[in-house]
Structures are given as structure tokens and as C-alpha cells.
């Protein structure tokens, strides 16, 4: 039997105002539970002194203010252990002293109580939408967390990225609608109840829109019709990078959001579903010099933000400030944050909002070799995480195809979205572009040595129209956002099919449904990684609103009655996903060579039109077909069936000559979007044979054949 000997450092050495203390350890930053007490550690390059402020939970006034003794400071780090604190009943903050000299970049204010940038749980917005006390001296309150979750044998799933089918989801929106029928609508626990739905749909990765603590009340606008206060519903405005949003947890009112989120992730993993977080490191919720001082501004303004030479905030994010990501200190914070989420929450991947900003230097200039992006790409803890960039920013830097990738980074492919939408609506001259998009955009990625998996393909995402709205509206309709329809993108490449908004015209309705099927079919047979927007599989509408960031109401929520109203479309999407999963030929990691390198008699990919082997690349063409040779699947390593896809985006029907197969293989019909259900799509593996080598394909229709 081994006897444990008490550590020496569990005993206090100092005392202040009745609190027993000892010098702390600088690492890790933040507040860490240690035997007998709590280790606090916070850094500031320019502060002269720092005070720990302790509150009883929810109390309006501090219970104690303990200055960090100067002998406890190591370098620029203030650190101290306070003993005998009940970790559940206290909240803590800091007062940080230093010069208030905005022109020099310093905005220290002793009067402000500041949030720890490393706080792992926050109080203050415990219950979503509950009006805060604006007179509170401390809005977002750091709390202590026990990182002792029992993961059993769980760990990130490490699904090969080429096999992912991503589902972009708003945590609250997914189950907040009463039709969801879950016990705790709008929460992490609510999502857990809907795992069977996600499994039956077939997606294997969820990308959560921001879940770092944010302030849903950060919006002063009023709904022009109802007079209701609009919110920041999406949450692209981080308050605490290490803290999950308490209001997204049914148990947030008990401060147990950390356990609830981890439980959800563990459940998703157990069901084969990865979790990707949409992370917002380009700016914070503090805005510009007129915004609230919550944390960074008062702790070390000049370090954390990109400042103009006269001390104002650069605004590459379009939200007032820009986080100074390539400052070494801030870079380390971002790294610490991602490591924490990967290690403590078993997160499978990250999608970086406005990631082009992460490649700018402290004066805003784009860097050829951005240290932050390189650091993340080579970090050992993040070594198996998916890293996905939204490769543009609000300052005009557009890096789709040129984002510094280091062999790791994938990108939201905005050109896929644009090109496929234009083709879908029947624009001429798009077939050349579409051919690139369908192949995983080699025109963008091959030069940089990046495979098809660099491309996250999507036709719709949270920004912009839903799929149903894409085929129902020519123009955005954002009046309800309170900005007279000025906000939101004007470049939607959408087409209403003949009438703006809802209609009972059966022809228009049928055409819209077909266009949605066309979009889904083309997305799911394209090389690269498909991403589906929550609710698109049941034709969720936002009534033409293409920027619903502020609507915590039925406009944004997933209406589960659509599952019963649109069963045929849901079936279509589900089967397209199943088909993709069944066919490695659709999930190549490398680009096609446009040649036969296995001796099958067919190139890996070949192009066709109404005539086999003869695609029409002319400028007025709206037709393209392609054939994937199954013997070339995954570079010839994984034999698969042959797949033929014909896309007729012309408004007239055409008869397509189908390329013939060898070795006794026959063509079978998997999809014909021009056919009425149930013959629009067949169960993968049980497709009926094609009777003829000619196929009459209706106007604006997609046909997918499988040869075996």
C-alpha cells in the first residue's frame, strides 16, 4: 500500500483580509481548482497592478477585493492561490490598473470589473432571453469549473474528412419550436433527443453555429412590425472564448452547461456523429471605443486589438473591432482555447468565421506565412481536428483557393455556392465553372497541392437564403430586421420560379420542389465535402429573409411539422446522402487526372452531353453530364460502381445518349428529379435497370444512374 504524502503547496503562506493565500503558478492561465483552493493567473503586458474581485453568486456587490501582492507576480503574469473558496458559490473578476491613454492604445480603468479571458464558465446570462440587470457592475461573471467529466472511452471520432456530410445547425433553433416535442426545447439536451432524426437523415458531422458565451441582448433594434426587442440570435460576437453558452443548456440555471454540452458530444460520438464548432476569433463583443468594456479592452487593449496609429480600432470584421490574432500573446490565447475545446470537450473540428482576418498582421496587412494559421496547422493536440476556414473577411480580403493551408486547412468554398446557384437558375455559360466545382474545384486547389477535400461544398448556409427560399425569392426580404431591408447580401443568385414568395400555383410549386432536388442532387454527387443547412432537408423557409441573425422566433426555428408536410423531399435528401456514403467514387481525396490510369477503358471522369462523349461547352450551354469510372474510385484502390450524372438546367426537355458500359454492367436509375415520387429516387442498391441507352430528361432536371 502506498501512502500519499501531502503536497507542501497545499498550505497557505500569506493572509489578506481574512483570506489565506500563497503565490500561485502562472500556468495554466485562468482559474484552476487546486488542492484546498483556487489558482488564479492572468497576464497583462501593460498593467501596473491587479486585484482579484470575488462575489457570492448573483450578488450585486463584491464580497472581497484581494490585490495581487507584487511578490506574487512573475513577468507580466499576476498569480495567486486563494484557499477555502467554495467553488460552486463564487464568481470572480479582476480590476486591472494602468494608464488610460487611448492614443497610446491603453484603456485601463480601475472602476471596471473585468472578465477573465480564460474563464471556463460564465454567469450573467444563465437563462436565454431573461432580461439582465443592466445596473449590475459585472455583467458576465467568471465561474469555476471542475474539469472532471467522465468520458469513459470516448474520444474524437476522426472520420476521414472526405467521408463527412456536415449539417450546419443553430443550437437553439433546432429544437426551440414547440413542434420539436423535446423535453427541453432549444438546448443541448434537446439536440440529444433528436439524435435519432440526425442518424436517419445520415449526416455524420454537426457544425454548431457559435456556442461560446455571447450576449443575446447585444442588439438595440426593434422589430418594426411587432415592436419586440430583436436579439443577437446567432451569437457571432464572443464574450468568453472558453465558456459554453449557459443559455443553451437546460441546466444552465444550475451552472451545469459544461456537463450538459459534454454529455451531448459524448452521445453524438456514440452515434457516429462528429462535432465541429463555428468559432469567432476575428473580433469580440466589446465593439469599438463606444462599446462596453467587458474584458480585453480593460486588461490589455493594445495587445488584444488591432489599433490604428492614433489608437482607434481597425474594423476588418465589420463589427467594430478586430482581434490582434498574430500578436504572439493573442495567438497563444487562440491556441490555448482550441486545445482546451479539443482536449476537454472532444471537439472534432473547427470552422473559423471570417478566417482571412487570422492571416493579417497587427497593422492589418495580409501575411504570406501567418504564424497563427501555421501554429494551428502543426499543433499536436489539434493534430487530427478538422480545420475549416471561411476564407474571406469584411475588409475585402477574399482567399478562397489561396488561404494558407499547410496541408491542413479546408475552406468554405464560396465559389461552389455561387457557381452552382447560377447553373441551377439556368444561367448560360456556367458549365465550365460547374465542371470545376463538381470535381472538387481543382482550378482552385490543385496548384497548391490541395486535394478535393480542401473544398467544403455548400449551396446554402446560415448566411443567406435557405434552400426553399433560394427557389422562392428573387430578392431578399429583411424588413423585419429593422434596417429597412438594407442589411444582408444582395447577391443571392436566386430565382423564384415565376412568383415572388408563397403561391398555390401547382406548376410553380412543382418546379420549386424540383429545383430543390436538383440542388441537393448536385451537391451530393460533387467531390469535396458537402454541407447541408439545418432544415433545408424539409424545405424550411425564412420567408425571404437572408440575414435572420436577430430573430429568436419561428422565422429562424426548425418547424418540425415540416417533417410530416414534406416527406417526399426529406426522403429524397436522405437517399442522396445514403447514396454518397455507399459510393467511394464520390468521395475522392485527390483530384481526377482526366485519364484512364487503371486500364478500364474509361477515364476516371469523362464529360458528356445529349451526345455521349461529347459535352457541350459552348457559352449558351445549360447541359452537362459526367461519368465516374468505378475502377478509378479513390485512385483505383477501392472499386466502386460506375456513376453517371446528367444535369439539364435548360427549360426544355432533352434526350440524352447514355455512354455504354462494359463487362456486363448495366445502368440503373437512382435519381430522376423530373419524375414524380416515388419514382424520383430509389433506394440505393435497389435501383431499377435503365431500359434504353437513351434517356428523355425533362426540363430543369437531374438524373443519376449507377452502373454495376
Amino acid at each position: 500500500m502506498t501512502l500519499a504524502i501531502d503536497r507542501i503547496d497545499i498550505h497557505p503562506t500569506h493572509e489578506w483580509g481574512g483570506y489565506r493565500l500563497r503565490p500561485g503558478k502562472p500556468f495554466p492561465f485562468g482559474a484552476t481548482l487546486v488542492p484546498g483552493g483556487v489558482n488564479f493567473s492572468i497576464f497583462s503586458s501593460h498593467a501596473t497592478s491587479c486585484t482579484l474581485v470575488l462575489f457570492d453568486k448573483h450578488a450585486l456587490q463584491p464580497k472581497a477585493e484581494i490585490p495581487f501582492p507584487d511578490e506574487f507576480r512573475i513577468g507580466n503574469v499576476f498569480t495567486m492561490v486563494v484557499f477555502d473558496l467554495d467553488y460552486e458559490s463564487i464568481e470572480y473578476g479582476f480590476r486591472v490598473d494602468g494608464p488610460f491613454d487611448p492614443q497610446a492604445g491603453h484603456r485601463f480603468e480601475h472602476a471596471k470589473i473585468l472578465l477573465d479571458p480564460y474563464a471556463r464558465a460564465l454567469g450573467g446570462r444563465d437563462i436565454w432571453g431573461k432580461s439582465p440587470n443592466w445596473d449590475d457592475v459585472y455583467w458576465h461573471r467568471a465561474r469555476l469549473v471542475y474539469d472532471d467529466f467522465d468520458w469513459e472511452s470516448d474520444r474524437p471520432l476522426e472520420i476521414p474528412i472526405e467521408d463527412l456530410i456536415i449539417y450546419e445547425m443553430h443550437v437553439r433553433g433546432f429544437t426551440r419550436h414547440l413542434s420539436s416535442g423535446v423535453k427541453h426545447p432549444g438546448t443541448f439536451a434537446g439536440i440529444a433527443e433528436k439524435i435519432p432524426y440526425l442518424k436517419s437523415l445520415g449526416v455524420n458531422a454537426i457544425e454548431f453555429m457559435p456556442i461560446f458565451e455571447f450576449d443575446e441582448f447585444e442588439n438595440s433594434r426593434i422589430h418594426p412590425e411587432t415592436g419586440e426587442q430583436l436579439l443577437n440570435y446567432w451569437g457571432y460576437s464572443t464574450v468568453g472564448f472558453f465558456a459554453p453558452k449557459a443559455g443553451y443548456a437546460a441546466s444552465g440555471k444550475f451552472g451545469m452547461q459544461v456537463d450538459e454540452l459534454k454529455t451531448l458530444i459524448k452521445e453524438l460520438h456514440a452515434n457516429g456523429i462528429e462535432v465541429i464548432l463555428d468559432v469567432v476569433f476575428n473580433h469580440t463583443a466589446e465593439g469599438n471605443e463606444q462599446g462596453p468594456t467587458i474584458s480585453f479592452r480593460g486588461i490589455d487593449n493594445r495587445t488584444y486589438y488591432m489599433l490604428t496609429p492614433d489608437g482607434y480600432y481597425f474594423n476588418f470584421s465589420g463589427t467594430g473591432n478586430t482581434l490582434n490574432c498574430n500578436n504572439p500573446i493573442v495567438r497563444n490565447m487562440v491556441l490555448d482555447c482550441l486545445r482546451y475545446w479539443a482536449a476537454e470537450y472532444h471537439i472534432d473540428g473547427f470552422r473559423f468565421d471570417l478566417a482571412a482576418i487570422l492571416g493579417r498582421d497587427p497593422s492589418g496587412a495580409p501575411l504570406a506565412n501567418p504564424p497563427l494559421l501555421e501554429t494551428l496547422a502543426f499543433d499536436p493536440i489539434l493534430g487530427k481536428c478538422k480545420l475549416i476556414a471561411e476564407a474571406w473577411d469584411a475588409g475585402g480580403l477574399y482567399q478562397v483557393g489561396s488561404f494558407p493551408a499547410y496541408g491542413r486547412w479546408a475552406e468554405w468554398n464560396g465559389k461552389f455556392r455561387d457557381g452552382m446557384r447560377q447553373f441551377l437558375k439556368g444561367e448560360a455559360g456556367r458549365v465550365g465553372d460547374v465542371a470545376q466545382r463538381i470535381q472538387g474545384s481543382p482550378d482552385l486547389y490543385e496548384v497548391g497541392g490541395r486535394g478535393a477535400t480542401a473544398s467544403i461544398n455548400f449551396i446554402t448556409a446560415h448566411d443567406g437564403f435557405t434552400l426553399a427560399d433560394l427557389v422562392s425569392y428573387n430578392e431578399k426580404h429583411n424588413e423585419a430586421n429593422g434596417e429597412s431591408n438594407r442589411d444582408g447580401s444582395n447577391d443571392n443568385d436566386s430565382w423564384n420560379c415565376g412568383w415572388e414568395g408563397p403561391t398555390e400555383d401547382p406548376e410553380i410549386k412543382a418546379l420549386r420542389l424540383r429545383q430543390m432536388k436538383n440542388a441537393v442532387a448536385m451537391l451530393l454527387v460533387s467531390q469535396g465535402i458537402p454541407m447541408i443547412l439545418m432544415g433545408d432537408e424539409v424545405a424550411r423557409t425564412q420567408h425571404g429573409n437572408n440575414n435572420a441573425y436577430c430573430h429568436d422566433n419561428a422565422l429562424s426555428w426548425f418547424d418540425w411539422s415540416l417533417v410530416d408536410k414534406n416527406p417526399d423531399f426529406l426522403r429524397f435528401v436522405t437517399r442522396c446522402i445514403a447514396f454518397r456514403k455507399q459510393h467511394p467514387a464520390l468521395r475522392n481525396t485527390t483530384h481526377f487526372r482526366n485519364q484512364d490510369y487503371v486500364g478500364s477503358g474509361y477515364a476516371d471522369i469523362s464529360w458528356h452531353g445529349v451526345h455521349a462523349w461529347n459535352a457541350d461547352w459552348s457559352s449558351d450551354s445549360r447541359i452537362l453530364a459526367f461519368l465516374l469510372c468505378g475502377k478509378h474510385a479513390r485512385g483505383g484502390t477501392t472499386p466502386d460502381d460506375y456513376i453517371y450524372v446528367a444535369m439539364n438546367m435548360h427549360w426544355e426537355a432533352h434526350t440524352f445518349e447514355i455512354p455504354s458500359l462494359r463487362d456486363g454492367r448495366v445502368w440503373r436509375v437512382f435519381v430522376n428529379t423530373g419524375a414524380a415520387p416515388p419514382e424520383d429516387i430509389w433506394e440505393p442498391g435497389r435501383e431499377p435497370t435503365l431500359p434504353d441507352q437513351h434517356y428523355f430528361i425533362g426540363p430543369r432536371s437531374v438524373v443519376i444512374l449507377v452502373g454495376r
Binding site: F149, D150, T187, A189, F254, M256, D259
Partner: protein, 111 residues
């Protein structure tokens, strides 16, 4: 918070009454573990626990781990519905066998 310990049919019954939070949970845990021998069977009766904080739930799981690691068994009984709900959403529930009554707990521990 108070812990009463008694033996019923070779099962150790620990009756806890009062709230389990950061200050009381360690005390309760110490009392329960003081009777946790190798291969023991423990019924934790929580009928008189109106509220359990994160620390209370952690105490339950930590106790469960220690008892099962030495070949013992733990059953919880009389857990209030709201506490069960919190245990469900935070993942604690699935580690435990729960029963409504002490008699059911005794049966569960004998099987």
C-alpha cells in the same frame, strides 16, 4: 445535511437528508465511503434530498466509481424527479441504477 447509516438484509443503507452542495457533499461522501468495504452493497436513499448541486452529483459519481472499483454495487433510491432530470441532461444518470423505493433497491442489489 445529515447521513444515517443502517444495515438491512446485508445491504448498507445510507439515508441522506438535506441539500447536497459544495459544502455538504464532501462530508456526505466521507460518511458513505467510511462504510464502503470490498464487495459491499450500498443503497443510497436520497428521498430527503430536495436539491443537489453540481458538487452533489460529482460526489455521487465519485462514490460510485470508488465502490465499484472495489467490487461493490451502488443503487440510488428516492431521487426527486427534478434532480433526475438534471442528472439526465448532464450525463450522470446513465451511470446509476435508480429505484423508486428502498425495497426495490434491496432487490436490485441482491440480483
Amino acid at each position: 445535511m445529515n447521513v444515517t447509516i443502517k444495515m438491512v438484509d446485508e445491504v448498507t443503507v445510507t439515508e441522506i437528508s438535506g441539500e447536497l452542495d459544495g459544502s455538504t457533499a464532501p462530508v456526505a461522501q466521507q460518511r458513505v465511503l467510511s462504510v464502503a468495504t470490498v464487495g459491499c452493497r450500498i443503497a443510497m436513499d436520497l428521498t430527503e434530498v430536495p436539491y443537489m448541486s453540481s458538487a452533489g452529483l460529482r460526489m455521487l459519481l465519485s462514490t460510485y466509481r470508488q465502490v465499484t472499483n472495489s467490487g461493490g454495487k451502488v443503487v440510488l433510491t428516492g431521487v426527486a424527479e427534478e434532480i433526475q432530470d438534471t442528472m439526465a441532461v448532464t450525463g450522470f444518470l446513465k451511470f446509476f441504477t435508480l429505484t423508486d423505493t428502498l425495497d426495490q433497491a434491496l432487490v436490485a442489489l441482491k440480483n
